[in-house]
């Protein structure tokens, strides 16, 4: 089905907020350095696994992404307050 064009416009340009969410990328999980090594061994990714090589290298040198300014995840409302997502028109 052809969807209305408006659905592709994900942000508001006049100051308002549209509803939006947040994706958690796998590389922020603590299992990721093991995963990167495993994928490097399998070597099944494009361009000779160049991306995983970079991941494995930088994670070996500095595997800790947690810093003083990190925050513990509580719930979606916290993410909204931080301004990382918005409930838009939802009440």
């Amino acid at each position: 089905m052809l969807l209305p064009r408006g659905l592709n416009q994900v942000y508001d340009e006049w100051g308002g907020e549209k509803a939006s969410g947040v994706l958690l990328h796998a590389k922020f999980l603590d299992t990721f350095s093991a995963k990167a090594l495993e994928e490097l061994e399998r070597g099944q990714h494009y361009a000779g696994s160049i991306e995983y090589k970079a991941y494995a290298e930088s994670l070996q040198a500095d595997p800790q992404l947690w810093c003083k300014w990190s925050e513990r995840y509580i719930n979606w409302r916290q993410l909204e307050i931080l301004g990382l997502m918005s409930k838009g028109n939802w009440a």
């Binding site: 508001d12 340009e13 907020e17 939006s20 009440a91």
Partner: protein, 565 residues
Amino acid sequence: MTIGVVMLVHTALGRAEQVARHWAAAGCPVVIHVDNTVPRKAYDRFVKSLADVPDLKFCKCFRCEWGTWGIVAASQAGSELMLASFSHVRHVFLASGSCLPLRPVKELQNYLAARPRTDFIESATTADVPWTVGGLDEERFTMRFPFSWKKQRYLFDKSVAIQRVLGFRRKLPNGIVPHMGSQWWCLTRQTLSAILQDPDRDVYDRYFRYVWIPDESYFQTLSRQYALKIESRSLTLSKFDFQGKPHIFYDDHLQLLRRSDCFVARKIWPYADRLYEAFLTNDADALKKTEPNPGKIDRIFAKAVERRTRGRSGLYMQSRFPNEDWENGVTAAPYSMFQGFSELFENFEPWLTKSTGARVHGHLFAPERVYYADNQTAINGALSDSAALRDYNARAFLTNLVWNTRGERQCFQFGPDDNQDVCWRIAKDPNAQVSVITGAWSVPLFPSNMDFADIRREAAQLQKIESEHMDILRSPYTKARVRIWTMAEFIEAPMEPLQGILDEIGHTKLNRISEVPRMVDLSGFGQFLQNLKNQGMHPYLMGDFPVERGITAAQKAPRKPYLVK
């Protein structure tokens, strides 16, 4: 005496059946109107499923397209059948298939029994209330609307445009005053039958047939002719979003709806099982006599509309990315920018921290790195001190910084050596407090160990940049609170400007400044400026700086000779 319910149904017939049974079980006669577009088979199945319910009738079907006469025709047919078939009905309640009673029907019956002559219909004159969202106001009543807005938008718009050009105006029959309001009403038999049996009904019907959205004005206008006592509010809770579309209630609105104390709410999502389960019960153990109280719901939905249309000032993210000058506030909180102060005073930053309690950063926009307060390498939101990352979008860096640290006043140093991309954004930001001592950039050059030719080139460059920045700050587009002093002016009396700045920042710990920042040693500085002048580089931003400070000031101006006539 009881209430009769006229239900307009066009979809989710299963839910409509449930609600109809609920009304009927409480002893309310029900008349159902099913939209013409419902397939024959589905219609027959629906009629059959309700065959066992007493006091339930189906009326003649009309085509109910949004904004057209069909909905009024359906309400008329339903009401006529209701009044003719059930003589013990005193109030007729117009509801839709997606309406859900929130309180036991008995409570509604008691409520209406206590107000036997009152008509509940939201009805306001168009002239006084700017209700319509992005639609036609008064023109609804003075133009003709033969085309469908949904299906023939082009013709609809064209016909409106043509009628505007021609100045076409319809006359209102019998001098009625157009009123508008929610299409969901509850009218007494007296009022409703007076409308339906009016000898002039043909005239009114002919007129309203071509009014735009007559379901929000037909009964609202005509009830004003006959009603003894109108309560201009709807007993049906319905909320509209910022585009004028009705808000749909879901399972997570359960508590909110419970606390509203409204009798009926719409629109309910057909799959909101928890809502239907929770509200379609009639345990009348403890009947409440409370008035409907939609205040809380109103506030929450008003907030949602505000969030959607105005958003949070100073937030830039994936679903809020305002065009320039449409931000509703450039930044999230007030902040202060100081130019020339840390050059002129040795301990300006610690002094400012001490006397205001604000977070005082160094040169945030310095070319080599971001100088955060306390020499940190990152701050709130893990904002890094990398100059490359910052310069990729310096304006966003500033708005991010202010957003991330909201709740704490931010102050930072700025100068002509820093990244100037932010100048306009700061100048146009009402949250910015900008204080500038012009020419103070030359103070660090004075004791430096550079060749004089290099100093001269550097000074010329910095002066040019600062001069451009001052033009921005003095432009008519500037919304920031700007204070500019020349260096000569400032060192004459530094206390007064400093006190003014601190007072404006607000939460100062002391009423008067007790400790003063230490000014750098300026002896010989006048000569330094004179040397620059002698090399052909005129440093004018400092103001009139005497060559030998102190000596010239002490010298008395020679007296003017008296002229004796």
